[in-house]
Amino acid sequence: MKAVTGTVAGVAAIAVLMATIVRLQMVRERWFPQSEPAQQILYVSSPAVLTRLALSYDALVSDLRASFKSLR
């Protein structure tokens, strides 16, 4: 008997908590809307840095850049 009430209480608590997190998210979105930029741009000012950051994957990065360019 005790086990059953424990389970019921637990499930009820979980349901309440789930409802709360959904509500919190909705409230947060209403009060603090996150503006999303129309276009996500990653801006690196120095080509030298980009080459270095690409480590040994230079070819991959230039490929990606080319394919993104073609998408636009």
Partner: protein, 269 residues
């Protein structure tokens, strides 16, 4: 209550001394130092890049720590059967689980504090090398106290990850599976915006509904990311932070409740 505290203290002592954690933290500290060098490569943007890199390093390393200890929490203990001796003591299963969670989050926070200290030291050093003009031109001081807010958000985010890792471990017998699921959810939690707008990708109202449902139910980790605002000295609303913190606490409570229920009924083969 007292029992939970005893378990937490013991777990903290055991995990804070773990060698693997030392390596991860050392790696993060090295990253901080290296970020200084990377800063030298760019023209004039060093301060911002170092701040970004430091926070990113803390976030990533912290993630590894959270998953590692979160899995270690239960999966390793069950695997090695060290849980047998404890459960034969006058400890209730839920006391054990909660004590373990608190102990491990404590370890996580200590490691995060060490990384944050290294972070601030590097920034202070850089700040001392900059000229007066450069300091005035920067949008935020090198050792900006608002950076601590970002660190705290990272801490909250990772406490949530730890709770998630704990949850998977309570019923999965495979440490690898639990780790994979936790990482997977962490990644998914970063794509909140895409989930919400899923209807734009797969053009069907049902997909949109599922996407939105998942967005609201799955842990939204992207919301904890205030790195951009802090590094670029953009405004931060305290209400937003409070709501996000509240979200973290409630979600953690949810995961812990579910974990306790599963753990209480589990057979330890």
């Amino acid at each position: 209550m007292r029992t939970i505290g005893l378990v937490a203290l013991h777990v903290f002592r055991d995990s804070v001394r773990d060698k693997v954690l030392y390596s991860i933290v050392a790696f993060a500290v090295i990253l901080m130092a290296v970020s200084y060098l990377i800063g030298q490569l760019t023209a004039g943007e060093d301060l911002k890049i170092i701040k970004d890199l430091g926070l990113a390093a803390m976030s990533l390393m912290g993630l590894f720590i959270a998953v590692f200890i979160g899995i270690g929490l239960i999966a390793r203990e069950i695997d090695r059967r060290s849980i047998y001796a404890v459960l034969a003591k006058p400890v209730r299963r839920h006391e054990l689980l909660l004590g373990k969670y608190i102990g491990l989050v404590g370890t996580l926070f200590v490691n995060l504090a060490v990384m944050a200290l290294a972070y601030y030291l590097v920034l202070a050093y850089i700040g001392s090398t900059l000229s007066e003009a450069a300091l005035r031109a920067a949008s935020a001081p090198p050792t900006d106290p608002r950076l601590l807010l970002a660190v705290m958000m990272i801490g909250l985010e990772l406490a949530l990850v730890t709770a998630l890792a704990l949850f998977w471990s309570t019923f999965s017998s495979s440490a690898l599976l639990s780790a994979g699921l936790t990482f997977g959810l962490y990644v998914a939690g970063q794509f909140g915006a895409d989930l919400k707008n899923f209807e734009q990708v797969v053009k069907s109202p049902a997909a949109g509904l599922i996407g939105r449902a998942l967005y609201y139910l799955l842990p939204n980790f992207a919301a904890f990311d205030i790195k951009t605002e802090v590094v670029h000295a953009l405004p931060l609303q305290p209400g937003y932070l409070a709501l996000t913190a509240g979200y973290a606490f409630v979600y953690i409570a949810l995961l812990l409740t579910a974990s306790v229920m599963i753990f209480a009924r589990r057979d330890f083969k």
